[in-house]
């Protein structure tokens, strides 16, 4: 019996294995799609009956039918506003420095390594840092400011990494052309490199901020309150935020509060989806008009 004669049966088996493998991979992948659908449908079905104007305009309450997310919405708005104020200038400048100015020195290597590591530090560790440094040591208390500073540290690595990628994608020919016309380094960066990289930087920043909106653990650490019946009027006020409010409702045993949490989740997801849509739109537009 030669091996050649045995081949067809063997070959058939091998092709069967190949088909089965392909089917398994395909099914598992589309299973992710099903998961997402189940998750969204479940939250929407539970939360939708509670979702009305009153839900958006009322303060939280012991009585589910009167509870709303006004303070949480305002808190999130304040928090993200200040986070953007701190993190965008710092993150983009750091990226410009690392991409355009930094040479090969020991300190620059150390900066690169620490950014890479910071990106992998769990968010709750940032919360511990914020608690020790901003809340206690700098005595900012459990304020919007302390929360925003903690959040800024958390998303800085994300903004820096995304902005660096955008800057790196700007072709060198643009830089050389500017230099050839006599532009200084700063003029080149300011008027040519930065505008070309803007859409990429914006996309990365929006995605980073949308991550900050959903972060819960660091805010709990620095002591964002779970029950707030007022709207913050300045950066030193105490506050709550949307994910904190959701967490608070989820951790109660009553079914009604779970459904309120679902309604809060729907609002949170809509906000995040809108931000993502804006990011996708910016990316898409910049690709279309690229020379």
């Amino acid at each position: 019996m030669s091996r050649l004669l045995a081949a067809p049966a063997n070959l058939r088996r091998r092709h069967r294995a190949a088909r089965a493998f392909r089917a398994i991979c395909t099914v598992l992948t589309w299973f992710c799609l099903v998961l997402l659908a189940v998750l969204l449908v479940h939250a929407t079905r539970e939360g939708l009956p509670w979702l009305d104007l009153q839900f958006l305009s009322e303060f939280p309450s012991r009585f589910p039918e009167r509870a709303g997310i006004k303070s949480a919405l305002y808190g999130t708005l304040w928090l993200i506003g200040f986070t953007a104020l701190f993190s965008i200038p710092i993150g983009v400048s750091a990226a410009i420095y690392l991409e355009e100015y930094a040479g090969r020195s020991r300190i620059n290597t150390a900066i690169e390594v620490s950014i890479a590591n910071l990106a992998g530090v769990p968010s709750i560790v940032y919360g511990i840092l914020g608690l020790a440094v901003f809340v206690r040591w700098m005595a900012l208390g459990r304020s919007v400011l302390a929360g925003a500073m903690t959040m800024s540290l958390l998303i800085l690595p994300v903004i820096i990494i995304a902005s660096r990628e955008a800057l790196r994608a700007v072709p060198n020919s643009i830089r050389y052309a500017a230099y050839a016309l006599g532009a200084t380094k700063w003029q080149t960066v300011r008027h040519h490199v930065l505008p070309s990289a803007l859409s990429g930087i914006l996309t990365g920043t929006i995605l980073a901020l949308s991550r900050a909106i959903g972060e819960t653990a660091p805010l709990i650490m620095i002591g964002a309150l779970t029950y707030v019946a007022f709207v913050p009027s300045g950066p030193m006020d105490q506050f709550t935020a949307l994910p904190i409010q959701i967490f608070n409702w989820v951790s109660r045993p009553q079914q009604d509060f779970h459904e309120l949490a679902a309604a809060g989740i729907v609002v949170l997801l809509v906000v995040l989806l809108l931000m993502n849509a804006v990011a996708v739109f910016i990316r898409h537009r910049s690709q279309r008009y690229r020379l």
Binding site: F21, C25, T29, L33, L36, I124, G214, M221, F247, S251
Partner: protein, 280 residues
Amino acid sequence: MFLCALLSIVVTIGIIVVLAFEAVAFFRHVSIVEFFTDTRWFPLLEPRHFGVLPLLAGTFTIVVGSAVIGIPVGVASAIYLSEYASARARGIVKPVLEILAGIPTVVYGYFALTFVTPLLKHVVPSTNIFNAASASIVVGIMILPMVASLCDDALRAVPDSLRQGAYALGATPFEVATRVVVPGALSGIVASFVLALSRAVGETMAVTIAAGATPKLTLNPFESIQTMTAYIVQVSLGDTPAGSTEYQTIFAVGALLFCITLAANLAANRILRRFREVYE
């Protein structure tokens, strides 16, 4: 601009100093031997016990459980995306994975508690309301997009000439994928596992909501447990005065958490650099 970049070093040092400072203060009250060998963790009530093992075990359970869910599905999706998917299917699956990755962890916690746990109760009636299994499942879903997208990048970096060479020798698509492409991208795949597991270690909200608050050494995934991260949240929800031993425990546990994730992240980088397959 240099100062902005320097901030990252300051933050890194800040984290280490803050954690070390309070953790050292903690270990003045509690011996480090007790911390790592005592099997009971009752830090808030007398008689107090500060053995971190139950919390470590809780975290370990979640990590193993989420790996069982997230890694096979993640790798399968990555192979599908890089080897089988049409451009159109890719255009659907990729954004879905991105959305899954972008959903806040508190939402996953809600999903675990109100959807996965009731489902598990149908299968295993003795399931506790708070249990490690449902938390593991959602943490698995959470790390899945990360595994999928990192592995996809690694698989696509394998040059097509290798695939075509294997097909020319008569290999089936299955053999090409598992004997040529996956080994060719192994460093990236292993690194993605390590990064995903490190993410599972640091995962906080889903395990706080769904896994419970009873630190215990158990292998039964249907019981309530507590992870390191969930403990830190539990303490900071209460009103613990600064300087007390309870307050210091969060820094001791946090320091341990930081060390574990840092080690994992460094290991992933090391794997990527040392074992990178270089293609021309």
